[in-house]
Each structure stands twice: as C-alpha cells, then as structure tokens.
C-alpha cells in the first residue's frame, strides 16, 4: 500500500487476450478440435501452420482423455505475435520416460507419438507435471500482419 492509500496497480505489459476456454470431456475431443480450429483461424493462423497447431493441441486433448484422468481444461489466448494454448488435467502426472525425449519414435512403433507430434508441430512446448496433474503449453507464431493502408495526409 502506498501512502496515497491506493493499491499499486499491477498489470502485465501485454494483457492476455482470451480466445477460448473450454472443459475437456472424453466425448468432446473432435468437437473441441473443430472449435479450436475456427478460433485459431479467426485469430489469423492459416494454412499448414493452422493444421499443424490444431493437430498438436489435439494430441494434448487426446492425452488428457487417455492418460490424464479424462477431464481437464483447454485455454487459448493471444500472446503478442503468437497464440498460446494450454491444456491442464488432474491426472497422475507424466513419467520421466515422457519428458526430455525429443527423438522421433521408430517408424512402426505403437504409442509415443502424441507428445512428439505436439512438440514437432508447435513453435514452443512447456510441460509442468506432478502427481496432482499436468499442464502443457504450446505456442504458434502468427503470420505477420500487414498494416492497413493509411489514407495519405492532405
């Protein structure tokens, strides 16, 4: 508290701009993927980068249903020149064998593709995991916006 009696105002330099917050449910993975694709497209992600990022996030949603207790939360927001997407669950956490592994599974291997694809098809991936749950955040850089043409100043 300052002497003026006003609480200091703490704000992020760039306020997060939410694009989507949804509950993850085992029966909604396909539907959530469609909603996500629509929102990301509206935010400016197009073409192969859009398809890549939608698949990356889809893998996280699938992991929640398969290994993360079945339910969780999907959050998407605009973060400056990128979009960020965070998937959280309250599952038992990821084992060490899933972390720090960047090599592609051998072709023809069953399993192990989800996190590898999520990492490969996004610009950054961060994982927080504990026995109380897992959060994975992915980002994708948006294509550079072409500034709107201005009328010449007379």
């Amino acid at each position: 508290m300052g002497e003026s009696g006003q609480a200091p105002r703490i704000a992020p330099l760039v306020a997060p701009s939410p694009l989507l917050t949804e509950a993850i449910d085992p029966d909604r993975v396909t539907e959530l993927r469609h909603i996500l694709a629509e929102r990301l497209h509206a935010a400016g992600l197009i073409g192969q980068p859009l398809d890549d990022f939608v698949l990356a996030v889809n893998e996280l949603l699938t992991n929640v249903v398969r290994h993360g207790g079945g339910s969780g939360r999907l959050q998407v927001w605009r973060d400056g020149p990128a979009v960020a997407c965070e998937v959280s669950d309250r599952g038992p956490g990821l084992g060490a064998e899933h972390l720090g592994r960047h090599d592609r599974p051998a072709p023809g291997t069953v399993g192990g593709w989800g996190l590898w694809l999520a990492n490969r098809l996004s610009d950054s991936m961060a994982v927080w995991t504990s026995p109380a749950g897992t959060t994975v955040r992915l980002t994708a850089t948006l294509p550079q916006q072409v500034p709107a043409a201005r009328d010449p100043i007379e």
Partner: protein, 122 residues
C-alpha cells in the same frame, strides 16, 4: 465430416476407402473393421486415405496395429493416396517408409501372403 469406411474387393485384396477424420473417437471403428477382416482371413488390406481430411496419433497407431495384426497372419496393411496434412503427418512420423503401398512391391507382398515363411521385402 463424419468418419466412414467403404470396402471393396480387388482380387484378394480388401480395399478400405476412408473418409472424414481419423482421431481417437473414430480410430476404434477402423480397428474393429480391420480386426473383422483379419478374423475372416482377409489379411491383405489396402487403405485408401485420399479422402481422409485428418489423421492424428490415434490414426497412426491404428494403421500400425492393423499391419501387425495382418502380418501375424501372413498378410499386410498398406496406405495409398495420402493428401495434404494427412500426407504430412504420415511422412513426419516416418510411417510412409514402412506402410506406403507401392505397385512395384505388389508381387513381393503377394508372395509373402502366399507363403508366410518367405522373406518378403515388405
């Protein structure tokens, strides 16, 4: 688009044309179809993915499982016609190296199917 499978016969080969999206919701439908084919002794399976608009890790796993299942009975499962992002995912995963159907492999695959003990190239 909803996932669907159309099956036709081409000599001894079962051709499965997939449409729509192959994900964790639809992959079990595909797996059941392949299981039923193999159980009925139809172990040479060509999967046409030209009309498939989406394929994720659940789809990749389903293809690999299907090939293992049919190979255990002397057969094979191969992919053909991948387009767009489905082709990209199949290539990134390296699956195109092991499961792409090539007409020049046809004879080798047929021989392997005819004689499960032969060392085919497939």
């Amino acid at each position: 688009m909803a996932f669907a499978i159309r099956e036709r016969r081409q000599d001894v080969v079962a051709v499965l044309a997939l449409t729509g999206e192959l994900d964790m919701a639809s992959a079990p439908v595909f797996q059941e179809h392949v299981d039923a084919l193999v159980a009925a002794g139809k172990v040479q399976i060509l999967v046409d993915v030209a009309e498939l608009s989406f394929c994720d890790s659940a789809g990749l796993n389903a293809f690999i499982r299907g090939d293992r299942l049919s190979a255990a009975e002397g057969g094979w499962l191969r992919l053909t016609g991948a387009q767009g992002h489905v082709a990209r995912v199949i290539e990134l995963s390296g699956l195109h190296e092991v499961l792409t159907y090539r007409p020049e492999d046809d004879e080798a695959l047929r021989q392997r199917a005819a004689d499960p003990n032969s060392l085919g190239s497939g």
